[in-house]
């Protein structure tokens, strides 16, 4: 028998969409495609045996352009990640609030040494740990966890490279 949809289902989907919004789908998808296109074009131009070999200056100039593009992509991803962490924090705080209320209403239940609420609160003090913990698992069957893991991995790479690359780009631009 088919179960009727309820507001709870819709609210769960809203929370999921809020998590999905961590990386703007349009920008990221389009960005990766454009970067790949340009990369292929660059490779074709520089390695085509029918054309005369490019000068080192041209190669560096083209590579700098590609770096520019990747930097922008990474910067955006990092900015979206920061925004999402704030949202996650807010969502998490709301959940902790309701858990507190629940525990207060049921004092007879023997509490473990460290309560779930405390764990969540501690996790929220360290947003990155919280993201890794995936406190609100995806409801999409099979691929949901994979999507979340991929995104976390991407964000970590993004943060790393943004810091690493930003300081190096301008000397290249000046070539």
């Amino acid at each position: 028998m088919t179960r009727l949809l309820s507001a709870t289902d819709v609210l769960d989907d809203i929370e999921f969409e809020l998590l999905q919004g961590s990386v703007s789908r349009d920008d990221l998808g389009a960005g990766i495609q454009v970067a790949r296109q340009f990369h292929n074009k660059l490779r074709g131009e520089l390695l085509d045996p029918r054309q005369k070999s490019a000068s080192l200056r041209d190669v560096i100039s083209r590579q700098a352009q590609l770096n520019d593009m990747l930097l922008l992509l990474l910067q955006q991803t990092a900015a979206e990640l920061a925004a999402t962490q704030l949202q996650l924090l807010a969502l998490g705080k709301a959940s902790v609030g309701s858990l507190d209320a629940l525990q207060a209403a049921q004092p007879a239940v023997s509490a473990p040494a460290t309560s779930l609420t405390d764990d969540m609160k501690r996790a929220l003090d360290h947003p990155i740990v919280y993201v890794e913990l995936d406190a609100r698992p995806s409801r999409i069957p099979l691929i949901g966890p994979l999507i979340t893991r991929l995104r976390i991995a991407l964000h970590r790479i993004a943060l790393h490279y943004v810091r690493l690359c930003a300081g190096k780009q301008n000397p290249l631009n000046a070539v």
Binding site: L4, L5, S6, A7, V10, L11, D13, I14, E15, E17, L18, G21, D26, D27, A30, G31, V34, F38, K41, R57, S61, Q65, L66, D68, M69, L72, L73, Q75, Q76, A79, A83, Q87, A90, L91, K93, A94, A166, G167, Q169, N170, P171, N173, A174, V175
Partner: protein, 763 residues
């Protein structure tokens, strides 16, 4: 970190006033203001005199932007110099966000998004620009990755800021010699970005740090037209390409080709503009002659003369001025100054006792395009809030994404974009509502970041604020009005879509920080339909209000009118079952039979398609009436949907207003009639009895009772003294209880309470 905000202005006193007033509201107070005035011919200096002692006024001998920018730079004392155009107003947190960016010591230059405040133009005028060493530039509007790598011959592409929104570390700007005065109007911003990049400085434009731009005319262009001195562009482009192309290692051939192509392109474009009638023959001919000539002049200047930058010695002396403290622009009154209309520069001439509240109003429809109930009420609320000095952003649905400033509020219109919540595609109302609610959330996130919006005011109807309430981004106040569940019951329209919308309305009510019903009847309905607690702690009834027309515009019934003179009875509202149109149709023949002088005017769009009448009868409401009562058509006029101006005229010219709605949570239409001193007849349903004083300002009848309606109309028509007396009493009641200012005052109390609760809970 101290800022020097530099404004370069010539002949734009009006927009400059808006900017100066807008800068009073900046959330980051550590800035001085330097205004560099060109050879002005208007009252710019008088406007600046109002701020004597708070800003520095410098003079530039020529209308030359590059030169003017350098004069400001040399006088600046802040660590960061921020440039904003005189026809723009920065968002409240502009400097605060820039300060955050410049905490990174590697950053030397940045700038943010520029919104065009114009109902006819694309919302984003500039997002992140990219420019090449050969003067190719793209203002990226949709995605920052669009156009990122244009395939051209240029060796260098860098991010660039738009001149109306750019900030620099002062020392870095002085190190490269400031701006090049050759750029008297355009390309100054792009040139400085390329030169900074070539000097190894970090130039990084960003997506936020918003400035609202209201393009004004100047000596080189007439705003919103193609009547522009394009030849100044040509000279700048040729000069730029030669200078920066050579500095960036572009080949001579590439530079030459770029210059020739640009000039040729402009030459051809002159023809296109002429054919499109955007330029007249003389303007097009002048453009064709001047563009190559100015291009040549730019080339000669680039090849034969050095750049006229700030001398290194002078730059060093200016850089040492950082030891002097800045004299801040803001004073102790600034935080309590009212909000400003960025287009006209108006603001209420009051000093507020507390800082203004910054609120976002959500609405499905909004004037001037749409004038339905919630949109009209929100428009009145926005006007009332602005009149009291508060800052308002309205987020409404629209055909395309647009931003304008309308009736005291920044109005963001969001187009329908169904790219989320695919699993609900089969439920169109829900699917649309969720997608729109999510877009509202994204817009609010941006407005909060840039303008510091503190609270969201959302109708429960259509759940626009649901995603925001779930996210916890901002506290949401829910306005209780007519409920979807109730209408679904009235119109027998309870499918899964309507059921879920009803459940989501309940979810929004549960998640809202505060509830604002418009009448006690709405509270009772919400208790019945949504299980609202009787003693809800966060609830306050705030009735709607409207803007009173002047006394001279009211038209009480004239007692000296002849007994057999025509009497006009007006109905306003959609033609649908809930509005009681069927009862009115049943009453009309009987009223006319008993009072042949009666004339009916029916204004409102036919909604027979949505309420099932069309399916049942195969007729629209007007067609159905015409078919049944062909002999009455000379006494019953169907006006359809009318404009605000027409509506006001209809109210003014009627003698009696009748709207027998089966249910209204409030009934703004009765207030609109009372505004013109007209007697009103409504039903004892919903909030209508709280608006109409039965026997004092009008008459009440039972819902769905055409007989009572006939009696009420005839009773009033037979006693002209009561027509006048009721009308005047209604007008007095409106002035006493139902003005938009009273509504706004009550809402401000609610907003302040919610903001303080929200701050206390750390949300």
């Amino acid at each position: 970190m101290a800022f020097s905000v530099i404004v370069n202005t010539t002949d734009r006193a009006g927009p400059l006033r808006a900017l100066l007033r807008g800068l009073e509201g900046q959330s980051y107070p550590h800035f001085e203001l330097i205004v560099v005035v060109g050879p002005t011919r208007d009252n710019t200096l008088e406007v600046l005199a109002e701020y004597a002692g708070r800003l520095r006024v410098l003079r530039c001998p020529a209308a030359n932007l590059g030169l003017s920018r350098n004069i400001g730079l040399l006088a600046a004392r802040g660590d960061i110099v921020a440039y904003v155009d005189d026809d723009a107003v920065p968002s409240r947190r502009w400097l605060e966000q820039l300060a955050g960016l410049f905490l990174d010591r590697r950053l030397d230059a940045t700038g943010g998004r520029v919104y065009a405040v114009d109902p006819l133009r694309a919302i984003t005028q500039h997002l992140i620009g990219v420019a090449s060493s050969l003067a190719e530039q793209h203002d990226v509007r949709e995605s920052p990755l669009e156009w990122m790598i244009p395939s051209t011959e240029a060796r260098l592409w860098v991010g660039r800021m738009m001149g109306t929104n750019m900030a620099f570390r002062r020392r870095a700007l002085l190190e490269v010699g400031g701006f090049d005065p050759l750029f008297q109007w355009v390309y100054d911003d792009t040139d400085i970005a390329v030169r900074l990049a070539n000097a190894g400085k970090v130039v990084q434009p960003v997506k936020e740090c918003v400035v609202y731009h209201i393009p004004a005319s100047n000596r080189n262009r007439i705003a919103h037209t193609y009547n522009v001195k394009w030849w100044i562009h040509a000279r700048s482009v040729v000069y730029y390409a030669i200078r920066n192309g050579r500095a960036s290692g572009d080949t001579g051939g590439a530079i030459l080709r770029r210059c020739l192509r640009y000039v040729h392109g402009q030459w051809l474009w002159a023809g296109q503009l002429r054919r499109g009638k955007q330029l007249d023959a003389a303007q097009a001919a002048r453009m064709r002659v001047m563009v190559p000539w100015y291009g040549l002049r730019g080339a000669v200047r680039a090849l034969l003369r050095p750049r006229s930058l700030i001398e290194p010695g002078e730059a060093r002396r200016a850089a040492d001025m950082s030891t002097f403290p800045i004299h801040p622009f803001q004073n102790t009154d600034s935080p309590r100054q009212p909000s400003v209309d960025p287009v006209q520069g108006h603001r209420p001439e009051i000093l507020m006792s507390e800082p203004p509240v910054r609120v976002a109003l959500l609405t499905t429809h909004y004037p001037p395009e749409q004038t339905e109930g919630i949109g009209r009420k929100n428009n009145l609320l926005a006007r009332g809030l602005f009149a009291l000095g508060h800052g308002v952003h309205v987020i409404a649905r629209g055909e395309t994404d647009k931003l304008s400033f309308y009736d005291g509020a920044y109005t963001h219109r969001l187009a329908m974009r169904l790219d989320r919540y695919d699993s609900y595609r089969r439920l169109p109302r829900l699917h649309y509502a969720l997608n729109h609610s999510h877009r509202v959330f994204e817009t609010l996130r941006r407005i909060k970041l840039n303008d510091g919006v503190q609270v969201v005011d959302s109708p429960v109807w259509q759940v626009d604020g649901l995603v925001t309430a779930v996210s916890g981004l901002l506290p949401v106040i829910a306005h209780l009005q007519t409920a979807t569940r109730q209408i679904a019951d009235l119109q027998r329209d309870v499918d899964e879509d309507a059921r879920l919308m009803g459940e989501l309305e309940q979810a929004l009510i549960e998640r809202a920080s505060f509830l604002v019903p418009n009448t006690l009847a709405t509270v009772e309905t919400a208790q019945r339909v949504y299980g609202l607690q009787p003693d809800h702690p966060n609830l306050r009834v705030v009735p709607h209000g409207i803007e009173p027309v002047p006394d001279s515009a009211t038209r009480p019934y004239p007692l000296d009118r002849a007994a057999d003179a025509p009497v006009t009875i007006l109905y306003v509202g959609r033609l649908e079952k809930r509005k009681g149109i069927a009862d009115l149709f049943a009453a009309i023949p009987k009223v006319i039979a008993a009072a042949p002088q009666a004339r009916f005017v029916i204004a409102g769009a036919d909604n027979s398609l949505n309420d099932g009448f069309l399916a049942r009868t195969s007729r629209t409401y007007p067609d159905w009436f015409a078919e049944r009562h062909p002999g009455l058509l000379d006494r019953v006029a169907f006006k359809g949907q009318v404009s605000d101006a027409e509506l006001a005229m209809l109210y003014q010219s009627c003698d009696l207003f009748v709207a027998p709605s089966l249910y209204e949570s409030f009934g703004l239409i009765y207030l609109e009639a009372m505004n013109f001193a007209k007697p009103v007849i409504g039903c004892r349903a919903g909030g209508i009895p709280e608006v109409i004083d039965d026997g004092i300002s009008g008459s009440l009848v039972d819902p769905a009772s055409p007989g009572q309606l006939v009696q009420a109309i005839l009773s009033l028509l037979r006693t002209p003294a009561r027509l006048r007396e009721f009308g005047l009493a209604g007008r007095a009641r409106l002035l006493e209880r139902f003005t938009h200012i009273q509504m706004a005052r009550a809402m401000v109390e609610v907003y302040r309470r919610v903001i303080s609760q929200s701050s206390a809970s750390g949300a």
